[in-house]
């Protein structure tokens, strides 16, 4: 089993994801410069957060045209797991691998804080170990994370179980107070129809060790553990 974390110019959570995969989870992981990325040797790929190409034009827009993304598309079609975190989520949307759009936060500012998420489906490569309804503490840090899609599309996504996480309060309620950026239906994460491609705004790699969590839990690691289990089964 071998994992790749793709490094675009301006990625800045690349080392963090590699650290968690290698040092916390203990799985073989390569940090690969986007120009050198070849998909066929990897079982799964992660697009890390950051500001690829300085977020010039639009977040993720330029990186989505990198030749590396053609490779990522092949992996996705193959059914192998693909995870996009924060800027990686933006890139997956820009590349057409995930539905919807990510717009500037409704407060128009960058927001960095710990939020509570509710798992809406265990049917993805990154949530197969997370029971539906389980609450997770994971931090967000972004300026353009307001998920949007049309009512018709959202209807389809619900039918296909494509909504993966929602922002909720401590009791698990979906409400506007728990919504940090104005996302439609408090959506924090979505997947493709097959469930092997997942994008999310929160940073699971920052919540994968107890020492980093103000709640003294390590919920983020569940996503990476799920990925490993998904590949094993």
């Amino acid at each position: 089993m071998r994992f790749a974390v793709i490094q675009f110019p301006g990625s800045n959570c690349d080392y963090d994801v590699v650290y968690v995969l290698k040092n916390v989870l203990g799985v073989p992981t390569d940090l690969v410069w986007h120009k050198f990325f070849k998909g066929d040797v990897y079982d799964a790929v992660i697009l890390p957060g950051g500001f690829s190409y300085g977020d010039y034009l639009r977040s993720g827009a330029i990186a989505s045209h990198s030749p590396a993304m053609e490779e990522v598309k092949k992996i996705a079609e193959d059914g192998r797991p693909v995870l996009g975190i924060c800027n990686g989520f933006q890139i997956l949307i820009e590349a057409g691998l995930l539905p919807g759009a990510l717009m500037p936060n409704d407060c128009l500012k960058f927001v960095c804080k710990w939020v509570t998420l509710k798992c809406e489906t265990s049917g993805t490569a990154f949530t197969c170990m997370i029971p539906e309804g389980r609450l997770l503490h994971i931090p967000i840090a972004h300026r353009e994370g307001r998920y949007f899609n049309t009512r018709e599309e959202l209807e389809k996504m619900r039918e296909n179980r494509q909504i993966v996480f929602r922002y909720v309060d401590e009791k698990g309620e979906v409400n506007s107070k728990a919504n940090p950026n104005g996302s439609v239906e408090n959506i924090a994460s979505v997947c493709n129809v097959k469930g092997n491609v997942v994008g999310l705004m929160p940073h699971p790699e920052r919540a994968s060790e107890k020492v980093l969590s103000p709640y003294k839990d390590c919920d983020g690691i569940l996503l990476f553990k799920s990925m490993v289990r998904f590949l094993k089964s």
């Binding site: 959570c13 120009k35 920052r206």
Partner: protein, 745 residues
């Protein structure tokens, strides 16, 4: 005057300095050379006024690897690793163009840390603005914070701590200080020196343009109406290029072919080449026409002085040039090979083959000292002797009013905009404790970091104010479970040519030196920013020496926050309270008073307090810790209650204090050397008292946490203060968002 020629370009040099330059050179300098002297002999680059004073600071300890004089101070944190850190001011550019001024401040400080071969891991930004009600303050505050956030967030270096003070003296001249810390292997440190003649000079990163020309001479002037015209002297930041530059430089340094490296900041190419050659005792030859530029027709004068951002200069072993080029090409970082290190002892700059400047580098780097006059300011007589105001009838109301005071109010509005998590190192985050704690991934230990300054105390007494700032920074790292190792300081003052300002500076540094010795914590670097003064009103900023602290947390299990943890836990106060309300938030907010007797800093008392708390934490006797600072004991307790979402019951008659003392003095005096602790049980609390007794620190159990919303401070049987914790939290949270036209969370 017949033999002295007119200088062909505008310079900011004194007549005496011009004479010295002519004598040193033994000929009439060229236009380019005048420009180079002008920039290198500016206050900002040369520290010509401050150097003799700064020499008073102790700078060594077994932990110090590199002290002042290089790009960053370097401190041994054990296990073969060092932490490099540095603070810088970006006051003048931020006062004119807050967004880019603040952003490029980050850019510069990150390069300073990168230049010693360290990966930047955190940023701290101490900020000072005018009154929060003023629209100018709101504009500056909003865009400075945005500038720091946009830049720091993009380069992936978390901003984990800082402080914000509002005071009318910063109305025109806001203070924007930025500090960066980095980690490196002890045996892989790089210094800004040219030691090997024959090394090839590669200029990498951003292209050179006309932006920022004479930024440093601009920073060595006061701010007036005309400063708006100086806007082109403010650089424009490019965090995307900076992020690539960080990765590129670290990869290049890994090759082992780099012998010297320096960032290009104030003074541009002139400063970098002259300082590196002067330190190495070598020479250097550069070809200015080889520099990659972003504008056409740049003159050699402009190329020598441009302060365009995101540039670094490397001295590379000729054998390694190809390998270095390969890495630059991988990251698509622009570069140019601009010259070489020589053994001529001369800095030679050529343009299209013609020599435009030829100066021994040390003439530029070793500026003659300017001895300034110091005179005790006349305002002190008036302000130190103000009459004590009458005590308010309703002290509960006073507690609420202090909690909503801008200097005490919650700063979440600021730190929500900063990515404080990137890097997976942040153990204690902004707002959780007295200092931030980050783990060092490579060693498993932690560092505690914090910046402190109290400009109102310093205004009344710069000696005790600065000593107090250092003591506070030490207390803060101790409260989170750390041990202070070293600090760097950022001195912000008015015009040093004014003897009263220079006196403030001198006394401030002397106070710092005193406390530094008393606590055994050395200074490893710093920055001096003068001329923070309004040209029209002649109002200078309150003297502000910001202390930026590095502490080591040997064991992450010792990490302690300020929130009360459990009901019924005994509250212990370490340290004695004195009637010291001068410069307090209480005087300012409640009585509109500037003056009175400010707290006295006492090294012995500080040492007793921090030793006690360090020992208590390490023995597991402490569940929460918070030092008493702005707002005194009452506010320290209030913040611990707010964070822990629980009440307290305290008997003020148990507070160790000098006698006689008034109730308002007991509650709001900002006496130093005090820390509030909670213990898990009475037994542990008594053990803390024992440790305090051994160390000679006055201490007592003053009350306990309670299972309700009530914040009750009694004097014997009489209720002195009774507040609701949830209401306290509400007013404390609302101030800043409300002022900025937003709702509190």
């Amino acid at each position: 005057m017949g033999r002295t020629k007119a200088i062909p370009v505008k310079v900011n040099l004194s007549k005496k300095e011009i004479r010295v330059i002519r004598r040193l050179m033994g000929r009439e300098p060229t236009l380019e050379e005048w420009g180079m002297f002008d920039i290198m002999w500016s206050e900002h680059c040369s520290y010509k006024s401050s150097r003799p004073i700064l020499k008073k600071l102790p700078t060594s300890s077994p932990r110090v690897v590199v002290g002042p004089g290089y790009d960053s101070g370097i401190v041994d944190v054990g296990d073969g690793y060092v932490v490099a850190f540095k603070v810088e001011s970006h006051n003048h550019p931020s006062a004119i163009e807050p967004y880019n001024g603040a952003a490029t401040g980050i850019g510069g400080i990150v390069r300073d840390v990168l230049a010693i071969g360290a990966r930047p891991i955190l940023l701290i930004d101490p900020l000072r603005f005018g009154r929060l009600e003023s629209s100018r303050t709101k504009w500056l505050f909003r865009y400075v914070v945005k500038g720091i956030g946009d830049y720091g967030n993009c380069i992936g270096v978390p901003t984990v701590a800082g402080e914000v003070e509002f005071d009318e003296s910063f109305e025109t001249n806001c203070l924007v200080n930025v500090a960066c810390y980095g980690v490196a292997k002890k045996d892989k440190i790089f210094l800004a020196r040219f030691d090997n003649p024959g090394d090839i000079l590669i200029l990498i990163g951003g292209s050179t343009g006309r932006d920022g020309i004479h930024g440093v001479t601009f920073a060595s002037k006061t701010i007036g109406e005309k400063s708006e015209e100086d806007r082109p002297a403010v650089q424009i930041g490019d965090p995307f290029t900076k992020k690539l530059l960080i990765e590129t430089v670290l990869e290049i340094l890994e090759t082992g072919y780099v012998h010297g490296i320096k960032d290009l900041g104030g003074g541009g190419l002139t400063c970098a080449t002259s300082e590196m050659a002067a330190k190495g005792g070598t020479g250097v030859e550069i070809e200015l026409d080889k520099v990659h530029v972003r504008e056409e027709g740049m003159t050699p004068y402009e190329l020598l002085l441009s302060e365009s951002q995101e540039r670094m200069l490397l001295a590379v072993d000729p054998k390694g040039v190809d390998e270095v080029k390969k890495i630059l090409e991988k990251y698509e970082i622009p570069y140019s090979i601009i010259g070489r290190v020589t053994d001529t002892g001369l800095l030679v700059a050529k343009f299209n083959g013609k020599v435009v400047a030829s100066i021994p580098p040390k003439y530029l780097a070793e500026t003659p000292v300017v001895r300034r006059k110091a005179k005790k300011p006349s305002y002190l007589r008036k302000v130190l002797k103000v009459k004590k105001p009458r005590e308010p009838k309703n002290l509960s109301e006073t507690v609420y009013r202090l909690l909503e005071a801008p200097n005490i109010a919650c700063k979440e509005w600021v730190y929500r905009q900063y990515d404080h998590e990137v890097g997976v190192r942040t153990v204690l985050k902004p707002g959780e404790a007295d200092a931030a704690v980050l783990r060092i991934l490579e060693t498993g230990r932690g560092i505690a970091v914090k910046a402190d300054c109290n400009s109102r105390h310093s205004y009344l007494d710069p000696f005790n104010g600065s000593a107090g700032a250092l003591a506070e920074a030490v207390r803060n790292v101790v409260c989170v479970g750390g041990e202070p190792l070293a600090y760097t300081d950022c001195c912000n003052f008015g015009n040093p040519e004014n003897p009263e300002v220079f006196w403030q500076f001198k006394r401030g540094v002397e106070g710092l030196a005193y406390m530094s010795r008393a606590l055994g914590v050395p200074c490893v670097g710093g920055n001096v920013s003068f001329y923070n003064e309004d040209e029209n009103t002649r109002v200078a900023v309150k003297p502000s020496i910001v202390v930026v602290m590095l502490g080591l947390v040997e064991n992450l299990e010792w990490v302690t926050t300020m929130a009360f943890k459990g009901y019924g836990e005994p509250i212990v106060l370490v340290g004695k309270t004195y009637p010291e309300l001068g410069g307090s938030e209480y005087y300012h907010e409640i009585h509109g008073l500037t003056g009175g007797k400010p707290p006295k800093a006492d090294g012995k008392k500080e040492k007793a307090t921090v030793k006690t708390v360090m020992e208590a934490i390490r023995n597991g006797f402490v569940t929460s810790a918070h030092d008493c600072s702005k707002g005194g004991l009452a506010i320290a307790l209030a913040l611990m209650a707010i964070k822990g979402k629980m009440g307290v019951k305290v008997d003020l008659s148990k507070v160790p204090s000098s006698k006689p003392i008034r109730m308002d003095e007991l509650l709001f005096s900002e006496s130093y050397a005090r820390i509030v602790l909670t213990a898990p049980n009475l037994d542990s609390a008594k053990k803390i008292l024992k440790i305090a007794g051994k160390n000679g620190a006055p201490a007592n159990i003053i009350g306990e946490t309670v299972d309700d919303d009530r914040f009750t401070l009694m004097m014997g049987l009489k209720k002195t203060v009774e507040c609701s914790v949830s209401l306290m939290e509400k007013v404390w949270r609302e101030t800043i968002p409300k002022a900025m036209g937003e709702e509190a969370e």
